[in-house]
Symmetry: D2
Subunit: 401 residues, 4 copies
Amino acid sequence: MNFEYSDKVVKLQKKLNQFMEEVVFPNEKTYHKQMEQAENRWVSPPIMEEMKGKAKAAGLWNLFLEDPEYGAGLTNLEYAPLCEIMGRSPIAPEVFNCHGPNAPNIEMLVLYGTEEQKEKWLPQLLNGEILSCFSMTEPRVASSDALNIETSIIRDGDQYVINGRKWWSSGAASPNCKFAIVLGKSSTSGERHKQHSMVIVPLDTPGVKIIRTTPVFGYDRAPIGHAEIEFENVRVPVTNILVGEGEGFAIAQGRLGPARIQHCMRSIGTSERALEIICQRSMERVTFGKPLSEQGVVREWIANSRIDIEQARLLVLKAAYMIDKVGNKAAKKEIAMIKVAVPNMSTKVLDRAIQILGGAGVTDDFPIAHMWTHERGLRIYDGPDEVHRATIAKWELKDYL
Amino acid sequence: MNFEYSDKVVKLQKKLNQFMEEVVFPNEKTYHKQMEQAENRWVSPPIMEEMKGKAKAAGLWNLFLEDPEYGAGLTNLEYAPLCEIMGRSPIAPEVFNCHGPNAPNIEMLVLYGTEEQKEKWLPQLLNGEILSCFSMTEPRVASSDALNIETSIIRDGDQYVINGRKWWSSGAASPNCKFAIVLGKSSTSGERHKQHSMVIVPLDTPGVKIIRTTPVFGYDRAPIGHAEIEFENVRVPVTNILVGEGEGFAIAQGRLGPARIQHCMRSIGTSERALEIICQRSMERVTFGKPLSEQGVVREWIANSRIDIEQARLLVLKAAYMIDKVGNKAAKKEIAMIKVAVPNMSTKVLDRAIQILGGAGVTDDFPIAHMWTHERGLRIYDGPDEVHRATIAKWELKDYL
Amino acid sequence: MNFEYSDKVVKLQKKLNQFMEEVVFPNEKTYHKQMEQAENRWVSPPIMEEMKGKAKAAGLWNLFLEDPEYGAGLTNLEYAPLCEIMGRSPIAPEVFNCHGPNAPNIEMLVLYGTEEQKEKWLPQLLNGEILSCFSMTEPRVASSDALNIETSIIRDGDQYVINGRKWWSSGAASPNCKFAIVLGKSSTSGERHKQHSMVIVPLDTPGVKIIRTTPVFGYDRAPIGHAEIEFENVRVPVTNILVGEGEGFAIAQGRLGPARIQHCMRSIGTSERALEIICQRSMERVTFGKPLSEQGVVREWIANSRIDIEQARLLVLKAAYMIDKVGNKAAKKEIAMIKVAVPNMSTKVLDRAIQILGGAGVTDDFPIAHMWTHERGLRIYDGPDEVHRATIAKWELKDYL
Amino acid sequence: MNFEYSDKVVKLQKKLNQFMEEVVFPNEKTYHKQMEQAENRWVSPPIMEEMKGKAKAAGLWNLFLEDPEYGAGLTNLEYAPLCEIMGRSPIAPEVFNCHGPNAPNIEMLVLYGTEEQKEKWLPQLLNGEILSCFSMTEPRVASSDALNIETSIIRDGDQYVINGRKWWSSGAASPNCKFAIVLGKSSTSGERHKQHSMVIVPLDTPGVKIIRTTPVFGYDRAPIGHAEIEFENVRVPVTNILVGEGEGFAIAQGRLGPARIQHCMRSIGTSERALEIICQRSMERVTFGKPLSEQGVVREWIANSRIDIEQARLLVLKAAYMIDKVGNKAAKKEIAMIKVAVPNMSTKVLDRAIQILGGAGVTDDFPIAHMWTHERGLRIYDGPDEVHRATIAKWELKDYL
């Protein structure tokens, strides 16, 4: 394993850190103020567009794309430390057009889209003009077992007819969100992992209905948010399919590895921000005659946070390294491990930050409360911890059969 | 120790449980819908007034008051199990006029108010017509060390002049909230625990300014909420003082014991509701061919939740029993212990419920996410865990001096 | 629930505490020295016999026996606090003839023995002259699933023929151990919980062979210890059966409740002793310019230990109260809960004590290391935590069927 | 960071693994049997000498020495994975002459010894003929604060006179142990970290008295063990000093980094062995109709163990890499972090193994119980976790001053 950051990466880290200091952090409050006063919370506020312009100008745009034709051409290991930096502010990923679900959707289109599909959607997506969403999870079944998925994608002549209910379709509540990539069952027979397909569904197609958005611990998470969508006899041309019928799971699998590296490294960045706040705040805040930072319990939190973050980062870098070297499939155990390890770590560090901040820790005076809710969600999204742990154990036990 | 519930209590438990089943639970969704559609989120919705009427009619009103002249005349040990039942729904305490900060404020007035003060405020409070708030915590200092408090209450002739900034003044954002009980420093010399006083400040007094409300993990917690208030040269007659100058801490101490029993028992009820949801949901939800309730990890959560809840409840009952038998002061260690033990337990049980519910666990489709944020707050309000643990240890070590 | 200790109990507590201070604690070192120098580690050293004599004289003998004909006639709730006191020293239970496996074996004989069996064995047992052992667990199968038990007890005319291998037969290595109560399968057909029987097997019966003793984390735990026994064509008269064929599980079940109360309360006492040592030692030991007791982390340990012990004790008392009031069967959930809760608590408290003591914590200069190994074992003996948690969950879920 | 193992290392790993499989593991039981039957437990049994011969012949000897003149010439990063392999068996490190305290003592002599000192001691040490011990910790003070050390080393003409009591002097109980390196105070004035010195004290010097050995949770840990030594007016020539007066702490510091890498990597190997046993045993052991490996809770343990081990190993490798690249001093935070992280991890993994093994887990039928006691000790030796956490926090907070 070689985790050494190349010169290219070190330069980008420096540039990105500088941009965060100069542009992103100073505008966090403005962003929130504009959001509070917004007429429509589902459109990014003006300051976001301004920051996006600056990021483009600075060459810090679409950094996630491994394909140099479209993006920065960075490997997973190279992009990982940049992701960490973006994770230091909840508003940063969008600034660099590196936010979910846009980024992974763009990756899927680049990897699996037809020329027609790419031409139609990529330019606007790459330019940060439109949003797209990913519709996989369903409210009526435990989607951690993907075989439970009930939405149907049935061929009828030159069209696919889609019926089903999806939620956690992040971004769909925005008027800028133009299409969904929908995972559904195109067949009920044959091999169980070959029954699913993915199709592109423009959101203005008749039969698509945004039901509501679901909050996360009280946050609507606008302007992206999480929409619940009803698909009722929705018809799209058969050319909207990705790769082909029965390829849904295979594509989802390919999307998974890099997406996990990205959100895990953002969680590392989030944790670093929390630790920074713990340190700063505990040095300022005085109780019983001395700063909190001189309390033994606080020192224990700081040390444990540092230890936990370091270990988690190394594991994510290892997973990124492996995806680059041996591919998603061979790295599957590491990919599952970071899914479990990282949000469990970050929620712990954030919890300590909340406790240090006292009353302020649960409000929005600091980004900590919001960050916690997001990281807590990550222990569920894309399968709860327990499902991933069961899988890791299964693989581990295989060596002893 | 005798925790046996008397016949009177058993009857009230039964009646209250029935009321919860028939009136409160069925109206939880209505309540939330009315809140969502409310023009003013800081006024309780019509369904609340309706339920309050029913509770009064059923004789389930002001149960918390130990003084039989004003309320049910129950001891702490007797009221505790009723509190547990109310804790099963976040909207229940208000239904029975037993919610914070009203209930503890009423108790303070009954115990420490002058006849004039009682006459002026008690009837409306007892009737559930108005709200009051309690202004203690300050945003600029770590209030867990009460000596940090900066708000001044200075006598000037027949008036007290109040200057300072308070937050976490729950209820003050409501137009129905008519007065605050404010804790501040009336002297800067003399014994350190005799420098503080409490005064009643009508919220329409010139100089009182509601700055904002602070959310708790994204929830505004309307219609009660948590207000930040500026007191700028606010003048009230000297007759508004409670007991006398320098008595602020003593009163706060007296308020504390019963208030803790109450919120801890509500947390026990909250935990029971969470365990109920874990059991029900895990039996319905099927993954990988069997209900979640047959997964070993889920069974472990259920068992540990049951064990944790049982132990915590017994400790709260012991504290209640001791307050009744030997008083707040002699029970101070137990009172501190439940402050630490209970919310740490309830957040753990709720966390398991979130994980069982999956995506639904972080939304408002179940009361769990909201409950979690409240219980998490309790680890901070009124002093963070760490301060209480330090105190418990100090008392423990005293035996070895 | 009424946990109030009666006057009788309060007097016994006082007397027992005094005896511990005057006789047991001062002789702990002597005991260990005599053990170290003993020619035969499997016989109690002279100081033990001396202390036993004093306990008898003081009327602190066979306190565990509920039957007033044979013992103190205390209920489970009454005996529990006395057990706690004995748990403060690893050598104390034998001093009062209240140690396992003698005490539970005596209870079984009193409850289920024939007159002949009682006459033969009880006087010597009650007088503390002989030991007996209980042979249930088997080395070749996971005995937590009792149905796995393989030892056979087959009737052949007027005799039972016993074949099988048992371990964890505590006490059997001592020359004073005169008989084993052996659980085995007397039938392989019929209802699965009615296939087992218990027989009394004198250890001098041909075919009984003590194979070895097994250490617990390096401790041989002499003079009681844990023996592994081979039973090869061992023949005993049919009159040696307890109650009758197929009654083995029912008897084991009856033995269980009170035995758990006893070892759990001893664990509470052990934890109290550990907390005492934490407090004393941390006040004496100075590092970096102040006593350990002024370190925040140590204070947190002290507070958490106090909180954990209090809750656990209340749960054990509740279980004891329930056994007395509604019987073993109705109290089964509580009995299972304390089996899980208590040793998990005590090992945590002891672990903190080890950490406070530093190097001395893992040696025998303090009783802590030894106590830890015993408490850790309790998480396994009589079924590991996980089996009990699964059972508790099963009972909990039943309410939702 | 580049953790890639070089070809040289990969070859050594392979060779070492093969040796473990062919020589070490098959002789574990023989070793223990010979130890049990040994007349003198403080001399290694014959099988050890036999294995040492084979290791020498195989070129697997003194692998730890970075100096190619004396040993394998491996960097810390190169030696680390070999240490992991040795950690899989408690008896392995001695087989390869890589065991503490010999290995770190040899390193100190190579780095800091005079030619005369080297000539006198190194050949026998390098050849595995004699043992040496390291005397630092003292029974009367909390040695985690090194300034507490009381042993005096006072110059008197051409001699140093040593007075003091040391314990945890591992190896000194063996007749093969020929000298101690003793840390003591050579001055009571001047800079506080320049008052200590190290001297070589042959154990046959008059005034050296082995008082006793201290067990670790009941294990005497023979033949190495942990001796308590009294030094009473012990006189050695001034040429026995290492480097010079006042250099004691500086030398100890230099010894520390590599020693930690080594014991931490052995702990990783220990944890891997435990996980292996968990997997194997859980697949064989059947309860309630299925193997333990199909129980969800067991699968969770396996997954968490794998996740925890991976993260810990990466952190140790990072620390090793840093020591090699930037030196002990710049790597001090990482060195402190692994001291805390690794034994906390390994004790958790071993605890799960104990629980899986049931009764066998606390006995010596598996190496797990013994391993646990050693790893638990590591949380104390060389300073308890809490001291290291406090230091890590101090360094972390420095960035915010």
